[in-house]
């Protein structure tokens, strides 16, 4: 009794108040306004019309496909490359500080700046990437101008920018694995490759899970990189749900924009929650 009195609920109130007022409350009302035609001052109930519009319009639906591709691809690559880098960086190599700093550095640069830089680097004829490829006799593609390729090119840039943070989380996870496990393994005559599969990987699972979830959630919700690099184009080919929400907002379609928000919410919940449950259950098994 006394203990709970010392841990007073009052200390949660400031954070709680801001969070409820500017996060949970808008989320809650978004469910209502997604069924309306809305001018911010007036609204009119129009039932499922906004959602119907979303599902019937290919240029809106493409956002779902792209968002899934983008989120899964970036999360997957960040984990794979991140694990690879983390293993290298916890080993005894001499250049680890250098590599760690360079890999982490893009995290510090703003997404818009990264987008602009890579827009230049990916220019089809003048860009550094294609000119380098040309040196070895490859004609590089039009990275951002080819509608079938644009979203993948942007995903690669996102991995470039975000792999540093994934690596840091994974390093933190791997460093907290007790040394005795490796010593025991070595005494048993195990190779280092074996050690990776049997010790490092399973025991850094919490960190890996954190990376997967953070990357997935991030990938599903962002659009700033797309906005800086292609504006969703060519045509609608690299639009994400979040960029579509922004475009509807820009056009003054507040109801439709909010319906997009609700759909994004549902999509995130449907993908992330089961994965979260699945991953944490596995953790308990260990």
């Amino acid at each position: 009794m006394k203990v709970n009195k010392v841990y007073s609920y009052w200390l949660i109130v400031p954070a709680g108040l801001i969070y409820v007022l500017l996060f949970l409350y808008p989320t809650a009302v978004s469910f209502f306004f997604s069924f309306t035609r809305w001018t911010l001052t007036e609204w009119e109930w129009i039932g499922f019309d906004n959602f119907k519009m979303f599902f019937e319009e290919p240029s809106l639906m493409i956002g779902f496909k792209n968002t899934l591709i983008f989120a899964v691809l970036t999360a997957g690559l960040k984990v794979i490359i991140g694990v690879f880098l983390a293993v290298i960086l916890i080993s005894k190599i001499k250049t680890k500080r250098f590599i760690r700093s360079t890999v982490f550095f893009p995290v510090l640069v703003s997404t818009i700046a990264v987008g602009i830089t890579f827009q230049m680097l990916m220019h089809p004829s003048n860009g550094l990437i294609n000119r380098t490829l040309e040196l070895i006799g490859i004609t590089g593609p039009d990275w951002l101008g080819n509608p079938n390729l644009a979203i993948y090119s942007i995903a690669l840039v996102d991995v470039w920018k975000g792999v540093g943070i994934a690596t840091v989380i994974l390093i933190a996870g791997m460093m907290s694995i007790p040394k005795d496990y490796y010593e025991a393994h070595q005494i048993d005559g195990g190779t280092s490759v074996n050690a990776f599969w049997h010790i490092t990987l399973p025991l850094s699972k919490p960190a890996i899970n954190a990376v997967i979830l953070l990357a997935l959630i991030g990938g599903l919700r962002t659009f700033d990189l797309v906005w800086a690099m292609t504006g969703g184009g060519p045509g609608f080919s690299s639009d994400l749900i979040a960029s579509i929400i922004y475009k509807q907002y820009q056009a003054g379609f507040y109801g439709l924009s909010t319906a997009g928000n609700v759909l994004l919410f549902i999509l995130v919940a449907c993908i992330v929650y089961p994965i979260f449950k699945f991953l944490t259950r596995k953790e308990v098994d260990l």
């Binding site: 609920y9 954070a15 590599i99």
Partner: protein, 290 residues
């Protein structure tokens, strides 16, 4: 004899291993430079060039460095808009971080220490925020109700609100590693909850404060989307919005665009230099029990 041969072989093997290791390292460093350093080098040389030189998009070193002229010019564009933007972004970042550190460590402390159904529910309500995409237009609507749309308090509160879940995760994770006995000693001394927190717990959170400060201030300073929605208007420019607007303005003057990029990357970089060692430390501590 046989023994020494074996030792020799072992030594040779070790040496060979050593060579392979060095070779692997060289390759790793080379790839690192190619993939991560070259783009930054590109930013820097482009920022140093004249307009026509920059238009070639090459890595060549400029004939003569124009960096200072470019920076001066970037600052002067549109009545020193970039200066306004720097001031605005700094205010938003600093105040948001101040609020976040205080309120999230407080909340994290209680959420970690108390047990029970209510607290579980509260915790999951906060955690849900990690997943839920912020509802954009309704947030604008709420801000307008309080006359906070396009104001500093408005954008700051929004930044705080969306960052609360992640900060609370970091704090609860770290607080779990602080033994409860410390609290108990204070309780016996008759400390109230606020005093206990401020005088005893808060100072112990230094490593995780660093983590929160660097991660969140980089996030907030570099944020583009939320100022775009909640803090529009030319007088309200933030550095990222300014950069975005310059993108179309400078469609020929890439040297200026990249001088701008260089400038706005400096604050996060300085922060990183100060706190870099502490990021991993804070996170490792959190990860152990979190």
């Amino acid at each position: 004899m046989a023994q020494s041969l074996e030792a020799e072989q072992l030594k040779q093997g070790k040496q060979r291993k050593h060579v392979v290791q060095i070779l692997a390292e060289v390759i790793a460093v080379f790839i690192c430079i190619l993939v991560f350093i070259v783009p930054f080098y590109f930013i820097i040389v482009t920022a140093m060039k004249t307009g026509p030189e920059a238009a070639q998009l090459s890595l060549a070193w400029p004939a003569e460095s124009q960096l200072w002229q470019n920076i001066v010019e970037v600052f002067q564009v549109r009545n020193n808009m970039l200066v306004t933007a720097f001031i605005n972004s700094t205010i938003i970042t600093a105040v948001s971080i101040g609020i976040l550190v205080l309120i999230c460590s407080m909340a994290g402390f209680i959420l970690q220490r108390r047990k029970g159904k209510t607290i579980g529910l509260l915790t999951s309500a906060f955690l849900a925020g990690l997943m839920i995409p912020p509802a954009v237009v309704p947030t604008i609507w709420v801000l307008e109700q309080f006359h906070l749309f396009k104001t500093f308090p408005g954008i700051i509160l929004v930044m705080v609100a969306i960052s609360i879940p992640f900060c609370i995760v970091l704090y609860t994770g770290f607080i779990a590693s602080i033994p409860k006995e410390i609290d108990e000693a204070a309780i016996i001394d008759g400390c109230g909850s606020m005093k206990l927190f401020l005088t005893i717990i808060f100072p112990l959170l230094k490593p995780i404060h660093s983590t929160v400060i660097i991660l969140q201030s980089v996030q907030i300073f570099n944020d583009f989307v939320h100022p775009l929605y909640f803090f529009p208007g030319s007088e309200n420019a933030t550095v990222q919005l300014t950069l975005y607007n310059f993108m179309s303005m400078y469609s020929t003057d890439w040297n200026l665009l990249f001088a701008n990029i260089l400038l706005i990357t400096i604050p996060p970089f300085v922060l990183f230099l100060i706190f870099s060692e502490k990021i991993v430390a804070g996170m490792t501590a959190g990860a152990v029990k979190g």
